[in-house]
C-alpha cells in the first residue's frame, strides 16, 4: 500500500463517518543534531518517526487526530477519530464556515539540495564543531558551543477534494557561540545562526571556524565594555537583528488567526484591525515587506503548504502601507479574503495552523556604511540576545549581544548589554535609511513557538541593515 493510499484511506474513513471535508498527511521525518561544548560532544541526537495526521470538518467544526500507524486499519482509525472529535467540537459550535477555494493539484516538489546533510559523516560534522569550539576556548571563551541541526521530511498529502501532493523537504543549519563569565555577569557572542531549505553546502559556507577567534575575543571584551547608555537616540540595526525585528513585530502581527482572535488566550491577538487593511500606515515609505515561500533555499520555503495551497509570493506591506496577511483556508474565509497558503504544522502529530513563511524586507537605497557616516550620534546593535513583545505585537523590548557607539559618522566604543524598546508602527515609521540589495541576507529562524499543543515553526526572513530615529535604548533593571 503506498503512502498516498494510506492517506486516502484515512480521508475516506473520515468522510464515511460524516465529515464534509477531510485531508490527511502521511509524514516520514528524520532529525539529527549535534552540539559540542568546549571540544566535547555533549549531545548527538538522531530521531526518526512516521505517522498520519487527519483533519475532518463536520458542519463548522474541526477535528484532528494523529497516529503513528501507517496500515490501512490505522489510517481508517485516525480518520474516524478525527470526525468523532469534530462532532465533539460541535457541542460548542462556531458560525457557518466555507473554506476558501484552492486549485486542486496532483504534484510533487523537492527543495534544492546539493549535499544531502544526512549523508555527510558524523565524524566530519563533529570535527567542524570541535575545531570551532577549540579555537574559541583558545581565544578566551569560558564556554564555547557549536551545533548543527538537520531535518529531512517526506510528506504525502491527500484531501477529499482530490489533492495528491508529495514533497521532500530537507533543511539544515549551524551556529556557534562564545561565552565569557565575569564576576557578576556573562557575555556571549554568537556566529550568524543560519538555517535554510538547503543541503550541507549551506553549513560549509558559514565559515564557523574562521569566525571563532573574533567571537571569543569580543565576548571577553564585552565584560569590561561600558554599558549601553540610557536615552533616546538614532539606532542602526544589523541585518540579523532586523530579521528578528521583522519576525516579531511584523510577521506575527499579520497572522490572520491572531487578528481574528483565535490565539487570544495564548500567543495573543494583533494590534491590526482588518478594517485598516489597505489603508494603515505601518511604516515609512521605505518599508516593503513580502511573504514569499518560493525563495530558493530560505527556511520558510515549500512547494505547497499543509492545506495543499501552492506556494506564492504576496505583498504584506507596500511603500509603508499594510496590504496583506498570512492566512489559511478557514481564516481567510472568515475574514472575507480570497487567498490562503500560510498553514503549516511541525509534524504529522500536530494540527496545521497559520505560520510565517519567508517574511522579509525588500532592500532599500542605502548601505550600512552610509548609515554610520550620516549619523552624528547613535548606537549600532547586532545579534539578538533576548526578545520580548506584548500579546498585541505592539510593545517590544529587544536586547542585542553587542553594540557600538556612533559619534560624528564613525563607529566608536564597544557597548555591552545594548537594549532598545518601542512601539511597532512608531518604530517602523521612523525608519529613514535601509540597506541595499548587496547587503540582503535571507535569515532562518528554526525556533518559532506557537500553538497549543506547542509547535516549533521554521521561518525565513530576508533582511538588510536599517536605521531608525528617536529610539529609546539602554533600558535595564
Amino acid at each position: 500500500m503506498s503512502f498516498f493510499e494510506v492517506a486516502d484511506a484515512a480521508v475516506a474513513a473520515a468522510i464515511e463517518a460524516g465529515a464534509r471535508y477531510a485531508d490527511a498527511r502521511v509524514m516520514h521525518r528524520r532529525y539529527e543534531s549535534m552540539s559540542v561544548r568546549n571540544t566535547e560532544v555533549e549531545d548527538l541526537t538522531q530521531t526518526e518517526d512516521a505517522g498520519i495526521g487527519v483533519r475532518a470538518l463536520v458542519g463548522s467544526s474541526w477535528g484532528f487526530h494523529a497516529l503513528p500507524d501507517l496500515t490501512e486499519a490505522g489510517a481508517r482509525r485516525a480518520g474516524r477519530a478525527a470526525t468523532e472529535i469534530a462532532r465533539a467540537s460541535a457541542r460548542v459550535p462556531g458560525p457557518p464556515l466555507e473554506l476558501v477555494e484552492v486549485e486542486v493539484r496532483v504534484d510533487s516538489w523537492a527543495n534544492p539540495c546539493r549535499i544531502d546533510p544526512l549523508s555527510v559523516s558524523l565524524s566530519e560534522k563533529g570535527d567542524l564543531l570541535v575545531e570551532t569550539t577549540r579555537l574559541m576556548v583558545e581565544h578566551g571563551a569560558d564556554i564555547a558551543e557549536a551545533s548543527y541541526s538537520i531535518w529531512d521530511a517526506r510528506i504525502w498529502f491527500t484531501s477529499s477534494a482530490g489533492h495528491r501532493i508529495e514533497q521532500h523537504i530537507r533543511k539544515c543549519g549551524a551556529g556557534s557561540s562564545a561565552t565569557a563569565i565575569g564576576e557578576h555577569e556573562t557575555q556571549r557572542r554568537s556566529s550568524p545562526r543560519q538555517y535554510g531549505t538547503a543541503g550541507w553546502e549551506l553549513v560549509e559556507d558559514l565559515d564557523l571556524i574562521g569566525s571563532a577567534p573574533q567571537l571569543a575575543s569580543e565576548a571577553r571584551a564585552l565584560l569590561t565594555a561600558p554599558p549601553c547608555p540610557e536615552g533616546t537616540t538614532t539606532l542602526i540595526l544589523g541585518s540579523e537583528q532586523m530579521a528578528l525585528q521583522i519576525h516579531e513585530s511584523v510577521g506575527h502581527a499579520v497572522e490572520l488567526d491572531r487578528i481574528l482572535g483565535w490565539e487570544a488566550a495564548f500567543a495573543g491577538t494583533s494590534w491590526l484591525d482588518l478594517s485598516q487593511l489597505g489603508n494603515l500606515q505601518y511604516g515609512s515609505p521605505l518599508m516593503n515587506i513580502t511573504a514569499d515561500p518560493t525563495i530558493p533555499g530560505a527556511l520558510g520555503s515549500f512547494g505547497y503548504d499543509d492545506e495543499g495551497t501552492p506556494a506564492a509570493p504576496r505583498d504584506i506591506v507596500r511603500d509603508g502601507i499594510w496590504v496583506g496577511v498570512l492566512a489559511g483556508r478557514d481564516s481567510a474565509a472568515v475574514a472575507g479574503l480570497d487567498y490562503a497558503g500560510s498553514v503549516r504544522s511541525d509534524g504529522w502529530a500536530r494540527l496545521p495552523m497559520v505560520r510565517m513563511t519567508n517574511v522579509g524586507l525588500l532592500p532599500g537605497p542605502h548601505s550600512l556604511e552610509e548609515m554610520i557616516a550620516e549619523t552624528s550620534e547613535g548606537v549600532f546593535m547586532e545579534t539578538n540576545r533576548s526578545w520580548s513583545i506584548d500579546d498585541k505585537r505592539l510593545n517590544f523590548q529587544f536586547g542585542c549581544e553587542i553594540g557600538w557607539e556612533i559619534r560624528n559618522g564613525k563607529r566608536g566604543r564597544m557597548l555591552r548589554n545594548p537594549t532598545y524598546t518601542g512601539i511597532g508602527p512608531v518604530f517602523w515609521r521612523s525608519m529613514d535609511m535601509l540597506g541595499g540589495a548587496d547587503e540582503l541576507i535571507v535569515w532562518g529562524t528554526p525556533n518559532c513557538g506557537k500553538g497549543q499543543p506547542s509547535q516549533i515553526g521554521h521561518t525565513g526572513h530576508p533582511a538588510v541593515p536599517a536605521r531608525f530615529t528617536n529610539v529609546r535604548v539602554g533600558v535595564r533593571g
Binding site: D43, D49, R87, T186, G261, D391, P453
Partner: protein, 462 residues
C-alpha cells in the same frame, strides 16, 4: 510485564547481541495528548494524538550516543539499535560519562503512587467539550478563549545494569480567558484529574476579573510594590529554576545560587514536589520531594547523573530527553504557602478580582499594584536572572489596602532573585494553586506573593 517494559527489554537484548560490552539504557513511553481549544466562544481546534516512543542511550568503547524513534511502521527496533550503535562508534571519547543507575530496588524508592487517574487517562473529546461548554456558558455572553487538556502516559525504564521501573501518570488542565473590549480575565488550574476542572467556576472567575479590568488607566513607569497572583509567581519560579537551580548552570558558574547561603527572604521556602507526572526520570532515577530553598536559605540545585557526577553529588531525578544542552531544571516547583493568612483584615474579600487568600496581601499594601500574570518574559542576563516582560490579564492599582482601579499593562525589567531577596518579600499568600505553564507541559504550584519593589520601565503603549 508492561508493554513499554517489554519493548525496553527487546531493545536491551538487541544491544547485547550487537555490542555485548555496551552500557545501555532505554526509556519507553506511550502517551496520549488531547487538547480542546476554543476562541470567540467556540471550539476552533480540537486535537488528539497518541503513540509510543523509545529513547536509547548507549556507551560503548568510551563513546556515547543517543537515539530516539517512535514505534512505527518504517523502521525496526534492530535498525534503530544498529543506527545508534554506529553513531557511537563515530563520535569522540566521552570523558564525563556518568555510568548507569544500579540495579538496587528502584521501585521501592519511587515517590508514592503513580500520579494517575484512569478517567482522565481515557477522557473523551466529549468530556473535554463539556468543560469548555460550561466555561463558555458561565461567561454571560463575553467572548472566551482557552483550552481544556488531558494527557496520559505509561512508561518504562530499563538498563543493562539490571534496573527496570515502570510508571503511569495523567494530567488535566484548563487555561482560559474571558474578554471585554478593553480587558481580559484569566482562570487556570492543573491537576491529575479532569474531574477537578470545574468549567463553570473557572468561567465565572475569568468573567469577574475581565469585568473588573475594563477601561484601565495608564500609570507612569517606576518602582512599585506588587502583589503577584499565583500565575505571575509561577513565571518567577520557573525562571529561577531554569537559570538558577539548574545543575548544569551551577556546574558552569552561570547560576546565581550559592547553597547554604541566605539568598532569599526568610518567608521563601521552595521545593520540587513531583505530584504530577511520571515518578522517575529518563535515566530511571526516582523523583522525590526536594528542598531547594528552606526559610530563605538556598539548599541545592537539581541534577541529572552527568551534572551530579561532575559535582560529586547524587542525581535528583531531573534528566529529560534532549536536556543535555539546557541542563536539568525543576519540573514541579512548589512555593510553600503561608501556614495561615497574614494578619490584617481585608476589604476586598467580596470582590471577585482576587482569590480570598490574596486579599490580606492587598489589605497590607499602602500603594502598589496587583498583577495577575507575567507574559513573554525573557532573560537579559542569566547570571542575575534579569528578566524583561509584560503584565497581562489584569493589573490593578492598590491604595490604602484597597483595589481602586484597573491599570494598563506595563513592561518591566527586573532581577527575579532580587525581588525575593532577604527583606524584599512582604508576605506569602495562604493558598497555593497548581497552574499549567505557558509552554510545554510544565506545571508549578504557588500562592500569591507581595514584594517590596518591581521595576516597571514603561506602559505597554510606549
Amino acid at each position: 510485564m508492561s508493554a513499554e517494559l517489554d519493548i525496553a527489554a527487546q531493545v536491551l537484548e538487541l544491544v547485547r547481541h550487537r555490542a555485548p560490552n555496551a552500557a545501555a539504557e532505554v526509556f519507553v513511553e506511550t502517551h496520549r495528548l488531547a487538547l480542546t481549544r476554543f476562541a470567540n466562544s467556540f471550539i476552533h481546534q480540537n486535537v488528539a494524538d497518541e503513540g509510543t516512543s523509545v529513547w536509547l542511550r548507549l556507551h560503548h568503547d568510551g563513546r556515547t550516543a543517543i537515539g530516539s524513534a517512535n514505534i512505527g511502521p518504517l523502521s525496526s527496533l534492530d535498525d534503530f539499535v544498529a543506527r545508534t550503535l554506529t553513531a557511537s562508534q563515530l563520535l569522540p571519547v566521552d570523558p564525563s560519562w556518568p555510568g548507569l543507575n544500579g540495579a538496587e530496588s528502584a521501585e521501592a524508592a519511587l515517590h508514592g503512587q503513580n500520579n494517575l487517574d484512569e478517567a482522565t487517562f481515557h477522557a473523551s473529546p466529549d468530556d473535554r467539550a463539556a468543560v469548555v461548554r460550561a466555561f463558555v456558558d458561565a461567561a454571560e455572553g463575553l467572548p472566551t478563549a482557552g483550552y481544556c487538556r488531558t494527557t496520559g502516559s505509561t512508561a518504562a525504564y530499563a538498563n543493562t545494569a539490571g534496573r527496570s521501573v515502570t510508571g503511569a501518570a495523567s494530567t488535566a488542565a484548563v487555561d482560559a480567558i474571558a474578554r471585554t473590549p478593553s480587558s481580559d480575565g484569566v482562570a487556570r488550574i492543573a491537576s491529575v484529574r479532569l474531574s477537578d476542572m470545574d468549567g463553570a467556576r473557572l468561567g465565572a472567575v475569568a468573567v469577574a476579573k475581565a469585568r473588573a479590568g475594563t477601561e484601565p488607566v495608564t500609570l507612569p513607569a517606576g518602582q512599585y510594590p506588587v502583589v503577584l497572583e499565583p500565575a505571575a509567581v509561577i513565571d518567577v519560579l520557573i525562571s529561577l529554576g531554569l537559570y538558577g537551580f539548574n545543575g548544569k548552570a551551577l556546574l558552569e558558574r552561570r547560576s546565581f545560587i550559592a547553597p547554604g547561603e541566605a539568598q532569599f527572604d526568610p518567608v521563601i521556602s521552595l521545593v520540587d514536589d513531583p505530584t504530577l507526572g511520571l515518578p522517575f526520570d529518563i535515566e530511571g532515577t526516582p523523583k522525590r520531594r526536594l528542598n531547594l530553598v528552606t526559610d530563605g536559605v538556598t539548599q541545592t540545585a537539581v541534577h541529572d547523573r552527568r551534572t551530579a557526577a561532575a559535582l560529586k553529588v547524587s542525581s535528583t531525578g531531573h534528566a529529560i530527553a534532549g536536556g543535555a544542552r539546557l541542563g536539568p531544571f525543576p519540573q514541579n516547583l512548589l512555593l510553600s504557602p503561608a501556614p495561615e493568612a497574614p494578619a490584617g483584615s481585608s476589604t476586598v474579600d467580596d470582590l471577585p478580582i482576587a482569590d480570598p487568600s490574596v486579599a490580606p496581601l492587598i489589605a497590607g499594601m499602602e500603594r502598589g499594584l496587583l498583577v495577575s500574570d507575567l507574559w513573554y518574559t525573557r532573560v537579559l542576563d542569566p547570571r542575575t536572572v534579569v528578566m524583561t516582560g509584560l503584565t497581562r490579564n489584569g493589573v490593578w492599582l492598590i491604595e490604602n489596602g484597597e483595589l481602586v482601579r484597573p491599570v494598563r499593562n506595563l513592561r518591566f525589567t527586573q532581577s527575579y532573585p532580587s525581588a525575593l531577596a532577604p527583606g524584599a518579600v512582604r508576605a506569602v499568600g495562604s493558598r497555593a494553586i497548581t497552574i499549567p505553564y505557558n509552554w510545554g507541559l510544565l506545571t508549578a504550584t504557588a500562592p500569591a506573593l507581595a514584594v517590596e519593589s518591581w521595576n516597571f520601565t514603561g506602559d505597554a503603549t510606549g
